[in-house]
Symmetry: C2
């Protein structure tokens, strides 16, 4: 492998002469907004993962591409690392600043450049909010499908950086499945146009590579997304279960029946009670688990699928299946789910949100494992998640003011992610690796694979100045972490048909 | 950019001492089947693009992974290039051998390792035939969706290498959308496991990168594909048009109406007549163009979509719309389409098949351009193509025995691909770049983008020994070709809504 850069973490980065860097940037890009006083830097010290806070050396807020280009050129010349950030709503610390680096904030690139209803595409700048795209497309009966819970605030550039998901990924895919083209500036000032409107693009698939790359390969300056026709109708079923594992099995049964829900979400009792207490959504507070199953499409199909999904869930042991009577009740059912994180937040001084993904068939077993681990660590875990695509969000409740609880919560979180990897899954479904899960990458990947990631990183950024210390751990770090690599080539079921 | 290898074409590769290489490989891997006599090498001199023929120095037919590993290790030590090949059905010369290289044939890796009906996945070796996967999945009511015309013969490893498509890509995606996981050996002997069953994978999306990489990054040794439930029913409509451009517009109208056909194919008069003469499919030989529109899914939906698609095509000017009466007639309608290439082959001593892809809205305009170019070059062009996803296959008819016709055909082909790029499209939709379209890559991409491709290649294969001279042209080659770069950041329609 061909690696020529150093993936150091912040503490190990060389010290910068802040005054000299500021002076250089002010001289080189006279119009560029640069923040440098502590009180101006403070609002940028974290992203959505507020447990991690670092004051950046400088914040740059460019207005145009020339300023971005000059900034990158000068940072490269000076050897100053650059962390790019959008709205800062990410949940894994991917946009966590560096004490010795510049935070490049792309929020002023907020224009929708073109919307083509016939081709069903929107060409936008990276600072455009996710929901703003759907709002602009609404008059044409179109929308942008990926819908992270933060969609009112998060920007599309950040969605690309983290390959964001949402409630509707099961049916409509992650960000990578909905982005047709990006323009990128590399640290060396190269402008890359990747992808296009054609289904296939020749050469290597660098477009997919950019999605989820957490700002480590370049700065995304323009994005063309796919738009979809708004479904004619959407209906939601809420099924109650006495047993969490039964609910887990019902998820697999729905998919096995050939039903593709727009969303298929699960909440366990702790999450149900928290949400009900907060939102009064009409959830059954005695249930061990509920499933929310939304079907969307043409009216007749949706009605038929609702009837089938109801039968499947009843057969799987649902004690009650209720269909939202109207649009208002549907919105209420979803409000409970969408506010589950803050609702749980009301129950506990602190919580720690996981983002593991597992094959659907492993849901019942991994839910049991999580319950057993929670007991072992003496902590409560609320489960709220995108069950349909196996993307779990266990919320570990703890109180950081109690001696040792934070450490116990972190250790429990690590064990849960390792259980996901062991079940053939992954340590992240939609929140990204960022700074938070960098140790678990040592569990997910072998040294060969990590070396390949570093080599690809070096192909774009040989000096390693773009967002160092995120996403891909160094092999030294993994050795230090004492990586227990559990990612095997094992067959999931030894009793499956063989050939 | 960080490039440390040399993307030379075959003529420029260093001469090898064949006897010494053979001896080394025989000593290092005693059980490995090695072919070296001219008569044994002859069958491997070309892939499906038979116009390009080169006798490889040696052919290796390994039986197991250890042999592959040793072969790669030794070739690397000796500086011998390696071209990996599956069934050799590719249409762009991606598996064209090198006179100074080893051809690594993976056909003995032909086992289906596991099939999981619940997770809907199949884990297979790279030499498994595309159709064999669907045959193995059929007892479970499942199938593998991408269906290149060569599916009876082509192998899944080759499908991954070229990111193969087929009639059903419009609805079900290309190979990259249907592969969940690959295992790869790099030239340095690293074993990489990329992707998995979870929807998202952390780190960079190297799985997507491997799809379409034409054997330049590593040797794929195992593939896990997604299986889909067989549709309950499929029905096909055949619509006749007096005018090719009207047919082109009807394609856009169908998609705009929110109908997603399983397949949406177009043939022009020359192709219709050739196919009818060969297959007797009942095609209207007087029509300027036909559309074949297949709808698949649940019976009631399919009937409703058929009725809607019929109305849309009639409104677009179809003179007749016929629905296949039964399964036999449906098969016959498709037989005409699937045999269109050999049918055209019966009309002309030689033909040259293009594979450009364009945005659907550009179909009428590009079809006119092709007609005008055909006249300019004095050659006939038959159009047969995946209209729904804008993937065109103009077949240029010529006679290589007539002075200058081959050159004229090649020049016309180049002009057609350039017209595709100008329309916002791409030089390949599903056949790959290979050796054939390497010059057109200079038209599709800027030097910055090509340099990035080379840097990524170097990250996996610093010595540039895996399939050199395919897929990605050197910048020197582009300069020599006199690249006319037409890939612009232009808005397709200046009159689209702006924001």
């Amino acid at each position: 492998m061909n690696i020529h850069y150093d993936a150091r973490l912040d503490g190990e980065l060389p010290r910068q002469d802040k005054a000299a860097v500021l002076d250089d940037l002010q001289q080189s890009a006279p119009g560029l907004t640069l923040l440098h006083r502590e009180e101006d830097l403070r609002p940028f010290e974290c992203d959505g993962l507020s447990a991690y806070r670092i004051l950046p050396m400088l914040v740059a807020l460019p207005d145009d591409l020339d300023q971005v280009k000059i900034l990158l050129e000068r940072c490269r010349a000076l050897g100053v690392p650059v962390v790019t950030r959008g709205a800062g709503t990410g949940l894994s610390g991917g946009a966590l600043p560096l004490e010795q680096g510049v935070l490049l904030v792309m929020s002023r690139f907020d224009r929708i450049l073109a919307l083509d209803p016939e081709a069903r595409t929107a060409r936008v700048q990276p600072g455009v909010r996710n929901l703003a795209i759907s709002e602009a497309a609404a008059p044409f009966g179109l929308y942008y499908a990926p819908d992270p819970s933060s969609q009112i605030a998060c920007s599309i550039g950040g969605n690309v950086a983290e390959n964001a998901g949402g409630v509707h990924c099961l049916k409509y895919g992650l960000t990578v499945h909905n982005v047709l083209r990006v323009e990128l500036l590399t640290l060396e000032g190269e402008r890359l146009v990747l992808g296009g409107e054609a289904l296939d693009a020749p050469g290597f698939d660098l477009l997919a590579l950019i999605n989820g790359s957490e700002g480590m390969l370049g700065v995304v300056t323009e994005i063309t997304v796919k738009l979809l026709p708004q479904p004619e109708t959407a209906k939601v079923l809420m099924a109650s279960f006495d047993d969490v594992e039964q609910a887990g099995r019902a998820v697999g049964d729905i998919i096995a029946a050939g039903i593709v829900p727009g969303g298929l979400e699960m909440m366990d009792n702790l999450a149900i009670r928290a949400a009900e207490d907060f939102i009064h959504a009409g959830y059954p507070v005695e249930a061990a688990a509920i499933l929310l199953c939304e079907l969307d499409g043409v009216e007749a199909d949706v009605d038929e699928d609702c009837a089938r999904a109801r039968r499947v869930m009843e057969a799987a042991g649902a004690t009650e299946v209720r269909q939202a009577r109207d649009e208002a009740e549907r919105a209420l059912f979803w409000a409970g789910r969408k506010n589950a994180f803050p609702a749980v937040g009301r129950m506990s001084p602190d919580y720690y949100c996981m983002d593991g993904t597992i094959p659907r068939r492993a849901l019942p077993a991994v839910l049991s494992t999580i319950a057993a681990l929670a007991e072992e660590y003496g902590l409560q875990v609320a489960n709220v998640f995108h069950a349909g695509d196996g993307n779990m969000h266990p919320l570990i409740l703890f109180d950081a003011n109690r001696e040792g609880e934070l450490e116990r919560a972190e250790a429990l979180g690590g064990r849960i992610l390792e259980a996901c990897v062991e079940a053939g899954g992954s340590i992240t479904g939609e929140h990204g690796v960022g700074r938070e899960k960098i140790n678990q990458m040592c569990v997910q990947f072998r040294p060969d694979e990590l070396a390949t990631f570093h080599a690809v990183k070096a192909a774009f950024d040989p000096e390693g100045l773009l967002n160092p210390g995120k996403n891909i751990p160094t092999l030294a770090r993994c050795a230090e972490f004492g990586a227990m690599h559990v990612h095997g080539g094992k067959l999931p079921h030894p009793d499956l048909p063989r050939f």
